[in-house]
C-alpha cells in the first residue's frame, strides 16, 4: 500500500536520485566553467552517501512505497512514485558506487578534451536517469527513465561527434534500442488495458488477470525491450559499435549499468513471465552467450573484445532469469558490474598510454589494437595487477566475486535442466563451453597485451610506456578490491553464504539442489581455466601458434557472424529504398497535387484578373471614355471654322422649322 509519510530513508533515496539531476542542471547552466567536473563528482558522491544510508535503513526491512498523482487524461489518472525494496536499494548503491570511481577516473582520462563540460553534463544526466529507473514504481516512470538512459547513451557514444564512425554508432544504438522499446510499449499497453493501472506492484501481485495468450505476448514484449537494452542476440549489434565513445563512458554505461537495466526490468516484473516466455528467455540468453564469446575470440580491438565479453555475460544473466533464479542473475549483475567496469578502466589506461606514445613519437597506429601492444606488464605493473584480478573474476577463478556468481548460475542451470525435457537439457552444457571460451579470450587478451615484447618497439626503438596516473589508478584499485570475494561472502568457495542472494531470494525461485554439482562444476571450470591459461601462454607468449588464421570459423568470428551485413541488406537498404520511394511520392504526387491546386488557383486568379482588368476596369474606363467622347463631340462644335458654325445655326433652324411643321400644322 502506498504510504504518504516522507521518512528519512525515503528522503535519502529521493535525494540520491535527484542529486545527479541537480548536477546536470548546474553543469548545463555553468557551461564551459563546469570543465573540471567538480559539480558532477560531488553530486555523485553525495548521491552515493544518501544511497548507502537508504540501503542501510531499507535492506531486509519492509519495502517503502510512496506515490503522487501526476496528471489525469479524461478519466485515467497517472502517478509518479518510488518503490524501495531490496532490489531497488541494492541497485541504487551499485549504480552510485560504480559511478563515483568512473567520475574520478574521467577527470584524468578526459583531461584536455575541448568538450569536457558537455561530458560532465551528460554523465550527470545518465546517473539521474539510471537511479530514477531503479526506484520507479510504475511502468510509465520506468519507461521515461529507460528512454532517458538511452538518450544519455546516444549523447555519450557520439561525444566526439566530428568522427563519422561515432555518429553512425550512436544512431545505430538509438535505433536498435527503439526497436526494443516497441516491445516495452506493447507490454505497457497490455498491462494498462487489462489491469487499468501501470503500477509494478499491481502487476506483480496479479499477473493472472491477463488472459492466457496476452500474458505470453506481454511477457515476450517486455523481453523484447530488455533484449535491445541488454544487447541480446540478434539486437546486440549496437554494443560493439558503441565503443566509439570514451572508454570511461563504455565502462559505466555499456558494461555495468545501462545494459543491466534490461535484466533489472525482467527481475522486477518477474511474476509476469509464464513458462513459455521463460524458456524463450533462457534460450536466447544461451545463444547470446555463445555467439558473443565466439565472436570475441578473434577480435583485435581491445574494447571490442570487452564489448563482446559484456554481451556474453549479459546472456548469462538472461539465462539466470530464464531458469527462474532471478536472484542469481542479479547477483551476477552486481559482480559483473565491478569487474567489467574495472576491465574497461584498465583498457582505458592502456589506450591512454598508447595514445600518448603515438602522439609523442608521431606513429601511425591504432592505439586500441592489441597487436601493437605487448610486454606492458613491465611498464604498467599496477594496471596489470588490477586487470589480472578482473580477468580472473571474469573467468570465474576462485577467491573472486565472479567465481561465486558464475558457478552458482551454472549449477542452478543444471538443476533446472534436470526438470526440463528436449533441447533445453543442452543449455547448461553450452554454458560450460561458453565459460571455457570466456577464459580463452580474456587470457588471450592478457597474454597479447601484457606478456611478450612491445611490438611497436620494433618500429621505433626508444618508445616508453608509463604507468597510469594516480587519479586513474585509485579508482581501478578500488574496483579491484570490490571484485574480490570479501564484499559478497565470507566463504570464498561456497555460494550459500552470499548475503546479497539471501536478501533477494523469493519463494518463487527455488530449485531442488543437486549437491554433487555444487562441487563438481567449480572444479571443472577452474581446471579448464588453468589448462586454457597454459594453452594461451604457449600460443601467444611463446609465439607457437599452430593454426592458420583465415579459416571459415575464424572469418565467421572475426566478422561477427556477418550479422551487420545481413541487417544492412535485409533491413537498412529496404528502409532506405522505401524512404526514397516515399520521397518520390511526396515530391511528385503530393507536391504535384499541391502544385496542381496552386496552379489551378493561379489560373483562377488569372481569369479573375482578366475579368477585373477587362470587364470591371473596362467598364469604369468605358464610362470615362463615354464622358470624354461626349465632351469631345461637343468640343468639336467650337472648332473655329466659320462655315461649320453657319451650318450648325441653320441645322437648328431646320429643327425648329420641322417642329413647327410637324407639331403645329
Amino acid at each position: 500500500m502506498p504510504t504518504t509519510a516522507l521518512t528519512y530513508p525515503l528522503l535519502a533515496a529521493l535525494s540520491a536520485v535527484l542529486l545527479p539531476f541537480a548536477g546536470f542542471l548546474l553543469s548545463a547552466a555553468l557551461g564551459k566553467r563546469a570543465g573540471n567536473g567538480a559539480v558532477a563528482t560531488s553530486a555523485i558522491l553525495l548521491s552515493l552517501l544518501a544511497a548507502c544510508y537508504a540501503f542501510a535503513q531499507i535492506w531486509n526491512q519492509p519495502p517503502i512505497h510512496i506515490q503522487w498523482h501526476w496528471f489525469t487524461i479524461g478519466e485515467q489518472a497517472f502517478h509518479v512514485g518510488v518503490l524501495l525494496d531490496n532490489m531497488a536499494v541494492m541497485m541504487l548503491v551499485l549504480v552510485s558506487l560504480i559511478a563515483l570511481p568512473v567520475h574520478i577516473y574521467s577527470a584524468a582520462y578526459m583531461k584536455g578534451d575541448p568538450g569536457i563540460h558537455r561530458y560532465w553534463t551528460y554523465l550527470s544526466l545518465f546517473c539521474f536517469a539510471m537511479l530514477g529507473l531503479v526506484v520507479a514504481d510504475n511502468l510509465l516512470l520506468m519507461y521515461i527513465c529507460w528512454e532517458l538512459v538511452g538518450f544519455a547513451s546516444y549523447l555519450l557514444i557520439g561525444f566526439w561527434f566530428t568522427k563519422d564512425a561515432a555518429v553512425q554508432a550512436n544512431k545505430k544504438a538509438f535505433i536498435v534500442n527503439r526497436i526494443g522499446d516497441i516491445g516495452f510499449l506493447i507490454g505497457m499497453a497490455l498491462t494498462y488495458s487489462h489491469l487499468g493501472t501501470l503500477d509494478t506492484t499491481a502487476l506483480i501481485e496479479a499477473p493472472e488477470i491477463l488472459p492466457a495468450p496476452w500474458l505470453t505476448v506481454a511477457g515476450l514484449a517486455f523481453f523484447l525491450g530488455a533484449m535491445a537494452k541488454s544487447a541480446q542476440f540478434p539486437l546486440h549489434v549496437w554494443l560493439p559499435d558503441a565503443m566509439e565513445g570514451p572508454t570511461s563512458v563504455s565502462s559505466l554505461i555499456h558494461a555495468a549499468t545501462m545494459v543491466a537495466a534490461g535484466v533489472f526490468l525482467l527481475a522486477r516484473i518477474f511474476p509476469v513471465f509464464d513458462a513459455t516466455v521463460l524458456l524463450v528467455i533462457a534460450t536466447i540468453g544461451t545463444v547470446t552467450a555463445f555467439a558473443a564469446a565466439y565472436f570475441a575470440l578473434t577480435q583485435y580491438d581491445i574494447k571490442k573484445i570487452l564489448a563482446f565479453s559484456t554481451i556474453s555475460q549479459l546472456g548469462f544473466m538472461m539465462v539466470g532469469i530464464g531458469i527462474g533464479m532471478y536472484p542469481v542473475a542479479l547477483f551476477h549483475l552486481a559482480t559483473h558490474a565491478f569487474f567489467k567496469c574495472l576491465l574497461f578502466l584498465c583498457a582505458g589506461a592502456i589506450i591512454h598510454e598508447m595514445q600518448h606514445a603515438k602522439e609523442t613519437h608521431d606513429l601511425d597506429m591504432d592505439p586500441q589494437d592489441i597487436r601493437n601492444m605487448g610486454g606492458l606488464r613491465k611498464h604498467m605493473p599496477l594496471t596489470f595487477t588490477a586487470i589480472l584480478i578482473a580477468s580472473l573474476a571474469l573467468a570465474g577463478f576462485p577467491f573472486t566475486g565472479g567465481y561465486l556468481s558464475k558457478d552458482a548460475l551454472i549449477v542452478h542451470t543444471f538443476e533446472w535442466a534436470a526438470l526440463q525435457s528436449g533441447a533445453a537439457k543442452l543449455i547448461p552444457y553450452v554454458l560450460v563451453a561458453v565459460s571455457m571460451l570466456t577464459s580463452f579470450y580474456i587470457l588471450r587478451l592478457l597474454a597479447k597485451v601484457f606478456f611478450g615484447s612491445l611490438s611497436i618497439r620494433s618500429v621505433k626503438k626508444d618508445i616508453r610506456i608509463h604507468e597510469a596516473p594516480m587519479r586513474m589508478l585509485g579508482p581501478m584499485l578500488f574496483l579491484a578490491g570490490c571484485s574480490l570475494f570479501p564484499l559478497f561472502s565470507v566463504n570464498p568457495l561456497n555460494d550459500s553464504y552470499v548475503w546479497l542472494m539471501q536478501g533477494l531470494t523469493s519463494p518463487v525461485s527455488t530449485l531442488p539442489p543437486l549437491r554433487l554439482l555444487h562441487l563438481a562444476i567449480p572444479v571443472l571450470t577452474t581446471g579448464v581455466t588453468c589448462i586454457v591459461a597454459g594453452v594461451a601462454w604457449q600460443w601467444y607468449v611463446n609465439g607457437k601458434y599452430p593454426l592458420k588464421g583465415g579459416g571459415l570459423f575464424y572469418r565467421l568470428s572475426e566478422h561477427q557472424g556477418y550479422l551487420d551485413a545481413l541487417y544492412d541488406a535485409a533491413v537498412v537498404r529496404p528502409v532506405v529504398r522505401l524512404s526514397q520511394l516515399l520521397l518520390w511520392v511526396d515530391h511528385y504526387i503530393i507536391d504535384g497535387m499541391v502544385n496542381g491546386l496552386s496552379a489551378l488557383g493561379r489560373s483562377f486568379a488569372a481569369v479573375a484578373a482578366w475579368l477585373d482588368q477587362r470587364l470591371v476596369d473596362g467598364f469604369v474606363r468605358l464610362i470615362g471614355k463615354i464622358a470624354w467622347g461626349l465632351g469631345n463631340v461637343f468640343r468639336r462644335l467650337q472648332n473655329g471654322r466659320l462655315q461649320h458654325y453657319f451650318a450648325t445655326l441653320f441645322f437648328i433652324i431646320l429643327v425648329i422649322l420641322l417642329y413647327h411643321i410637324v407639331v403645329l400644322l
Binding site: Q638, N639, G640, R641, L642, Q643
Partner: protein
C-alpha cells in the same frame, strides 16, 4: 398671272443654293456670293407677296431697303476679307481658326 407658289419655289431653290454655297465653298468671296444669293431669294419672296398689297406697297418698299442693306453689307464684308487676308495670308475660311477651343 403667275401663281404665288411659283415665285416661292424659285426663291426656295435660290435660297438653298445660296445656303450650300456658304457652307461648302472654301473661298471667302464665294461665301459672300452665297450670302448675296440668299438675300436675293428673300427679296424675291418679299416682292412676290407684295402683289397682294396694293394699299401699302410694303413688300416693294422693304425690298428696296433690303437691296441697300445688301450693298452696304457687301462693301464692309469685302473690306474685312481683304484685311483678314493681309493677316492670315489666306482667303480660305478653314485657315482662320483662332477661335478654336
Amino acid at each position: 398671272m403667275i401663281p404665288l407658289t411659283h415665285f416661292l419655289i424659285v426663291g426656295a431653290c435660290l435660297f438653298a443654293i445660296g445656303l450650300y454655297t456658304v457652307m461648302a465653298r472654301r473661298n471667302a468671296i464665294l461665301v459672300l456670293v452665297g450670302i448675296e444669293l440668299m438675300i436675293n431669294a428673300a427679296i424675291l419672296n418679299l416682292v412676290a407677296f407684295s402683289r397682294y398689297d396694293k394699299t401699302a406697297y410694303g413688300g416693294q418698299a422693304f425690298a428696296l431697303f433690303a437691296i441697300v442693306l445688301a450693298a452696304a453689307a457687301v462693301a464692309v464684308a469685302l473690306a474685312i476679307i481683304l484685311n483678314a487676308y493681309k493677316f492670315y495670308k489666306s482667303v480660305n475660311p478653314e485657315d482662320i481658326r483662332n477661335l478654336k477651343d
